[in-house]
Amino acid sequence: MERHQLVIIGGGSAGIAAALGAYENGLKDILVIEREAEYGGILQQCIHNGFGLLTFNEELSGTAYAEKYFNLLKDNECIKFMYKAAVTEIKGKTLKVSTSEGIKHIEAEAIVLSTGCRERPAGAIGLKGNRCEGVYTAGTAQKYLNKEGFLVGKKVFILGSGDIGLIMARRMTLEGAKVIGVAELQPYSNGLARNIKQCLEDFDIPLYLSHTVEAVHGRSRLESITLIEVDDKLQKIEGSEQEIACDCLLLSVGLIPENTLIEEMGVKLDPKTKGAVVDDNYMTSIEGIFACGNTLHVHDLVDYVSQEGKKAGKAAADYVLGKTSESETVKNNVSNGVNYMVPQSFHKGKDLEFMFRVNRVFKDCYIHVYGNGLDKKIKKLGIVPSEMQKVLLKKEELENLEGELNWEVIA
């Protein structure tokens, strides 16, 4: 059987970075398994810019970012890529891989999962009305436009102000479609502030906050949607319906970490992130199985994904080389406005970065981190669910902590 020190599943931004991290930390035999015919994952359909400011100190397109990062390990003999290969099952540390040469079984000492995320489809939000042509997730429309070269609609409405939806509002406008508007259920936008400015405001595309699409209508092709306003409890306000003619509805209503493979293995998932529960080494509840990138929790920026991937790769290398700490882990608890925390647990003894999201908009607030032996308040001017928060705690700050660590927002 084919064996490797480390197998990375998914050759997108997280997987490439994990490979680099693992190599830099001493591994000599790394295999990256990628479903598509090329590396880069979703970056390959992101031809807009805004990538790489943190990693390369310049603003790149998604495709250029992928290329530039890939070039860091392109000629590295310790890292091999297997393309057009799909992992269909993991048993213990053995992967079953489907390829055009046949089914392969590959054994690994450690596995990093970097399979990205998927878009929440119409069925998952119970979108009402007909099952006609013209309703797409924003990412699928992006693939049709940027990779196949055609528009799936000429008069477009967008539900959800997630970043892909905003990016597609601009893309479709630039390619000749009319984007009528964007509806967002929440009273605040779910995308990055810069995308609201650059993708909607600059093109005079209206954003309907506290609105949702009640139903879609059309026999073979979408003909119209019903837009409806919601109150502060997100309940639909009867009588506020308006019919909007359009031939395409794009959905940008959330991303879900893609975890089918490890879910089947029994890896413990966090119901909030929908990704694996990990420690500060990005190790899941099954020893030697690591997760990073959007498969762990959905990130805002590719630069953060790369950083996380690199750390996970390093930690996986430590594990393979027997350098992982055996100490007890400390659990993170979240409450009062903090929606989730990654990692969910950690080892003391080093500086640690904690990533989380809040579950509503806060202005002039504190992030309160406390436990037995630690009490810290971090002032924040304003935090929103759409922007991932990071808090760094120094080794010394954590030293006297006994028991669990708690996180909350004090408004």
Partner: protein, 474 residues
Amino acid sequence: MVDITIIGAGITGSLIAHNLSKFNLKVLVLERESDVAEGSTGANSAMIHSGHDPKPGTLKCRYNLLGNRMFPDLCKELQVAYLPIGAYVAAVGEDEEATLDKLISQCEERDVPYEVLSGDEARKIEPNLSDGVTKVLSLPTTGIISPWEVTIAALEEAMLNGVELKLNYEVKSIRKENDHFLINEEIETKVLINCAGAHCDEITSMLRESPYKVIARRGEYFVLDHLNGTFVKHVIYPVPGVMGKGVLAVPTVHGNVLLGPNAEDSEDRDDDSTGKGLDFIKTQITKTVKNIPYNKMIHTFAGLRPHIDLNDFYIQEDDQIENFIHVAGIESPGLTSAPAIAKDVVEGIVMPKFIDCKVKEEYIRRKPFINMTEMSDEEINKLIEKDPDFGLLICRCEKVSKGQIKDVINRKCGATTVKGVKMRCRPGMGRCQGGFCEPEVVKILSHELNKKINEIELDAKGSYIYMADAKEDL
């Protein structure tokens, strides 16, 4: 001249065609939609009822009982899935227990196997049965199938044996001329069988005043992701009410779970839209089951039951027009009944008109759809050796290879649309609902059918994926 023309390629029309394909007859099936199984057949609870429920003395009762017994063998013959998972009818409180007792005595009278459980006994086996459930009627002969798979398989095999299918063919006029019928002034047929589902009275009206009127009754459903028996293992019924069997939880042959349907009369017979019914289902379903994993919801759909005002199936040769056969009002338990209806129509009504006609000496069997998730590595490697595309995974959620997609396009009764591919081998049926694989399926369809990308449709005629080239309208 065609011997027999069947209008409608739903489950009944297709099984009639399949039965007729065994004889030396010229058989034609006309379907208005872009694929078979598009009407009521494609959108229902996908289950084989035991026969405990229909009113005594009705055709529904007779055919349900017969069909239930025929289905396991039919599925074996067509090489499609049939799972005898059984059902629980769950009663809450004394009034419902009284109704349950009526069903129990019907089971006795009809020789339908059953068992009676207390709520607690049932909850031991089905832990997600609601706490309020006090008594359960267990029906082990209830099964589940994929209705479109059965329909597609039946027509595929019929077509392998000479039956012709015309898709996107709407019947607009029928005239009776001496000894034959003339359809749309172009098709001549000796015998005409009306299996037009929600439009059967419109077809009849082309020849005479229809003895029945369709009242389309819409039913909506939720689809949950693969739960593989972790939520419910049986079909869970409430006790039946006036509008039908109530809101069910039904495991599917692919490991998903359906929740539904509601029942709402619809003036528009083609309106398969979902709406308030979904909210109704959410409130009703809690009566029988708890801990519903709505976070696993991946799809919603609606179907139309072709209910007719006679409140029973209407299956007979017309009393005024010779050789015109009605197969009307085939609503629940229509799916279960279909094999028995097809047998009776063919043996009892059609074949006596062709007494000299012989059974074909050679009959070609279809090959089953290639289901790679149930194959050993050796079997898969053999496929890949023949065509490397069997190793190229296109749909990650349902684990479907490019080879499988090519296979379902290139068969008789093959897929011609994105939905057609989805119904036959499942890319797009999973948790991402085709978000990743649909563009790939479009390209494969384009290549295999030798069509341009802008000619590929999602489903119904005119539902093109492509709208315009980038920058075309600038």
